[in-house]
Structure formats: structure tokens, C-alpha cells
């Protein structure tokens, strides 16, 4: 066994224990969150959880999607605390903030049309939901197109050290959200029905969020990043984490009775495969241009990256808009507005990629 581990580490440069632990922890804890109370197949979903937060603070009026998800708070604060302790916390930014805001916005639009972010996509597949296959192809295609532009010199500009206060804003916003969850002031709304009313206990969700946030801050775990590194530089180190996440999610799903292979009776899914593909294509494309998936943006924002903080704000705004403008899909399928928004997002990404090259 020791020999096998040593060989694996030698054959995959860049692989370290934090990547392995991140993959295993994500796979197991993500599925367990469903067991502890989160909606089915939604152990962790950045887009769904941000939609809940947006609704709760009044950015949309769908009263079935309103709850400040402690997992999101945990991700950011876990990354923040570990980065602070290990002196990784640095205030940097200033690289095309408005563009990043819009890219963050479109990652959530694409996710809302598919009904899940790249992490939820993997959890859905791990639970046997085959409707995720079209979305997985879309994600890979989106990442691949983004990589083509990276090879052609796509660049959003240099980041530079910034005033320290900038880096504290997103972690402090999360502290504020945590206070809101605990105190629930009158202007914060919580769903009493629907997916917003289905959640794991606060302390469990927060602890899981903190653990995953801290681990993935160390490992730089990212779904889109792992695909990008593999396709761009044949770097398999992050991919090992993703594979472990899928394997452990499948094992945990089977062990907890959540595994159910098929297409027709999958929770939180629709059968519009072409729009699942397009939605995840947009998310993959926009995420590569941003430098990481929606989850990675949260972690980077926790580490003090102001650009990712701006992308996070774009994601929060999008999470409100997808409900207010009827962009989000439902189990009945994607909406007309959602389809148009995905096409607009793809056009935006192409034009941006064509015009931002060095």
C-alpha cells in the first residue's frame, strides 16, 4: 500500500494530501448533508444556495427559495480562517472588476438553467442521475472553448496589491449573514415551504462548510480548474481530487440509500438535455475566463482576492435575478427567458474572449 501511494505521488506531479482529503471530504460530507436534511441530490450547490441567500435578503420574491445557507458562510469563513493563519490572506485585485462581475453573473445563469452548479452536477451524477450527462458534456465543452482562447492569449489583466479593507469585505459580509441566520431580523425571510425550507441543522451545515472551505483553500480544489489544468497542461493533480470526490460520493450514496440510477424520476432535474448542455457550457466557459468555478470564487474571495469578491457579488445578484426574471429552470424544464439568457451569456463570453487578448 505504501509503495502504491508513493508511486501515485511520484507519477502525478503536484498531487498532495490536501487534494486527496478535499476530494474524499467533499464526496462524503456532500452526500451526508442530504442525509442530515438538505434537499435530495443537493448536498452542496453554490448556485442553489446563493439563490436561497438572495431570496432571504430580499433580492427575489420566490418564497420557496429563501434561506441563508450556512454552508456558503462556512466555505468563505473556512478559507478565510485558514488563509489568515497560514499567512495566505492577501488583498489583491483590480483585474477587470466589471467584467468579472458579469462573468460571475453568467456562471449562475447557466447553472440555474441546468438546475445546479458544477459541484451539484457531480453529486447528481454520483446519485445515479443520468440527466447530468448532457450537462457534463456541456461543462467540458465550455471549458475546452475557454482554453482555446487562453492559448490565444486571453487575459483579464494584472492583479495588484490593494488596500487591506477590500479583502475583508466578503468575509465580513458572511459574518453578517451568519448573524442574520442566528438572529433572523424582521427583514430576513425564511421559506416555510419548498426547497428553501429543507435544510440540515445550522451547526452541522456550518461545520461542514468550514471544514470544506479550509481543506479546499489548501488544495485549490475546483471542478473547472481541474478540467482546465488537465486539458491545458496535462496536470492531473486536481483531477485526482475530483475523481475521489465522485467515487466517495457514489459509495456514500449507495450506503445511505440515495443512489438511484435513471433519468425519469430524478429529484431536481429536467429532461431538456440540450438546455442542460447549453447551461453548463455557459458556466464552464465563463468559469474558465474567470479562473475558477463558482465554488472556487467563494474560496478565493475568502482568501482576500478582491476580483473573486466582485465575481461573488455578481453571483449573488444573478441568484436574485434568475428568479425575478424567470430565468431559472424548474422540473418542468427551462423557461423561454432562461434560454435567451443563456444565449446572451454565450455571446457575451465569445465577444469578451475575442476582445481581451494580449
Amino acid at each position: 500500500m505504501k509503495h502504491f501511494i508513493k508511486k501515485t505521488f511520484e507519477s502525478i506531479p503536484g498531487l498532495n494530501w490536501s487534494i486527496i482529503l478535499s476530494g474524499i471530504a467533499f464526496g462524503v460530507l456532500g452526500v451526508m448533508l442530504v442525509q442530515w436534511g438538505n434537499p435530495k441530490n443537493t448536498g452542496v450547490c453554490v448556485s442553489c444556495f446563493l439563490e436561497g441567500i438572495s431570496g432571504s435578503i430580499g433580492l427575489h420574491s420566490n418564497n420557496r427559495m429563501m434561506y441563508i445557507r450556512p454552508e456558503i458562510i462556512g466555505f468563505v469563513l473556512g478559507a478565510f480562517l485558514l488563509a489568515f493563519v497560514t499567512k495566505d490572506f492577501r488583498s489583491v485585485g483590480g483585474s477587470s472588476p466589471m467584467t468579472r462581475f458579469l462573468l460571475g453573473f453568467f456562471t449562475i445563469v447557466g447553472s440555474a438553467v441546468f438546475m445546479g452548479c458544477p459541484i451539484k452536477l457531480l453529486f447528481r451524477l454520483s446519485a445515479g442521475d443520468l440527466t447530468g450527462l448532457a450537462a457534463l458534456l456541456g461543462l467540458v465543452a465550455g471549458v475546452w472553448v475557454g482554453i482555446l482562447f487562453m492559448r490565444e492569449g486571453f487575459y483579464l489583466g494584472d492583479e495588484a496589491p490593494m488596500n487591506k479593507m477590500n479583502a475583508w469585505i466578503i468575509p465580513l459580509l458572511m459574518v453578517l449573514f451568519l448573524i442574520f441566520v442566528v438572529v433572523t431580523p424582521f427583514f430576513i425571510t425564511e421559506s416555510t415551504r419548498g426547497p428553501g425550507a429543507v435544510y440540515a441543522p445550522l451547526w452541522i451545515a456550518l461545520t461542514v462548510g468550514l471544514v470544506l472551505g479550509a481543506l479546499t483553500q489548501r488544495s485549490r480544489f475546483c471542478i473547472v480548474g481541474s478540467l482546465r489544468n488537465y486539458l491545458l497542461a496535462n496536470d492531473k493533480s486536481l483531477m485526482v481530487g475530483i475523481v475521489l470526490m465522485i467515487v466517495f460520493a457514489i459509495i456514500t450514496s449507495i450506503a445511505t440509500g440515495q443512489f438511484h440510477m435513471g433519468m425519469n424520476d430524478q429529484p431536481g432535474s429536467h429532461l431538456s438535455h440540450e438546455w442542460s448542455f447549453m447551461g453548463m457550457f455557459l458556466t464552464g466557459f465563463a468559469s474558465v475566463l474567470l479562473g475558477g468555478c463558482p465554488y472556487r470564487q467563494l474560496i478565493l474571495a475568502g482568501e482576500g482576492n478582491v476580483d473573486s469578491g466582485v465575481a461573488t457579488l455578481g453571483m449573488i445578484v444573478a441568484a436574485g435575478v434568475v428568479h425575478s426574471w424567470y430565468l431559472a429552470s424548474s422540473t418542468a424544464g427551462p423557461t423561454f427567458n432562461g434560454k435567451i439568457a443563456v444565449l446572451v451569456g454565450i455571446v457575451f463570453c465569445f465577444v469578451l474572449s475575442l476582445t481581451n487578448r494580449e
Binding site: K40, R193, N264, P267, S269, L343, F350
Partner: protein
Amino acid sequence: MDGKWDYLWESWLDKASWMAVIVCMAVMGVMFYTHHQEVKASGKVSSPAHAGEVRRRSNKVEALLKETKGLYKQKKYDETIKKAKQMLSLDAKEPFAYLYLARAYRAQDNLEQGIVNYSEAIKLHPDFVDRKSEDFLGRSKKELKPYVDKAIIYSKKKEFRSKPGYKKVLKHIYYLQRRMAGGCE
């Protein structure tokens, strides 16, 4: 122009990307046109109902709903269907009209119409499949679950698949299956 914008049209990637942009814009144009035509033909307002939207019934619809419930209790299914349809002519987004249509059709053993109307009712009012709601249909063990299970078995038979328009009904059956599986809406 002095070749200032040439870099936007140099490589195969540039050309393919502009083609993709044009295709996306063209698809959007076609989608807008067909959507406009559909809305014009159906006369319906294009905005869908928000899940969980709080809606107010007019007095007329409220009175019709009361009558429909009464007729259904008396097992007068033809009249229930008539009244429910009347309700829908006044308010096409009234979920209880679809619910009573579904119940009446179910009682009449019209599986296709029963399924389609249950599906429409749940799309408009997700509380029908929400355990935390007073309107949750799952409280009656006889209502939705066994009916959908029956529909799934029936949908695999040749008798069902030889009927015209069976694909549309099949979509509704799959929708009900997914909704009853839980998760996000």
C-alpha cells in the same frame, strides 16, 4: 480602419467564434419570433406563474370553486369537469380547477386527462407535493402516488403507445415522477 481590428478576424478560432455569435443571435431571433407567434395564437400572457406566488381569486372563481368541490363530493363528475373548465375560462392559472379536473377524470378512469391535469395543477401550485403544506396531496394515500405508479405501468403498454399524442402525456407522467422524487423544484 487601418487594420486596427484585424486581430479580431485572424485565426480559425476568431472566425469560428464570430460564426457562433451569429448563430446564437439568429437562434435568439427565431426563438423570439416563434414565442411571439405562440403567445399571439394562445392569447396567454407570456409570464409564467411564480412557484409559490400568492394569488387572489375573484369572487366569481371562488364561488365556482365552492360549487366544483360540492359537485365532486356528490360524485357528479361530468358536472365537476364542466364547472372546473368554466373556472379556467375565467382564470387559466387557477390550480384548484386543474386539481378537480384531475380528480374527476381519475374517478372516470380517464388516465391521460387525469395525469395531464394533475401535472398542470402541481406546476401552478407546488404545495400539492410539499409535505410542509396544508394542501399536500400525499396525505391521502389513495390520491397521487398510486395513480402515478399506475400511469407508469400503463405507459409501458402498447395500448398506450399506439394512441395519438401519447408522447405529450408521457412528458406529464415523467414530470410527476420527478416532482414526487423531491429535491429542488
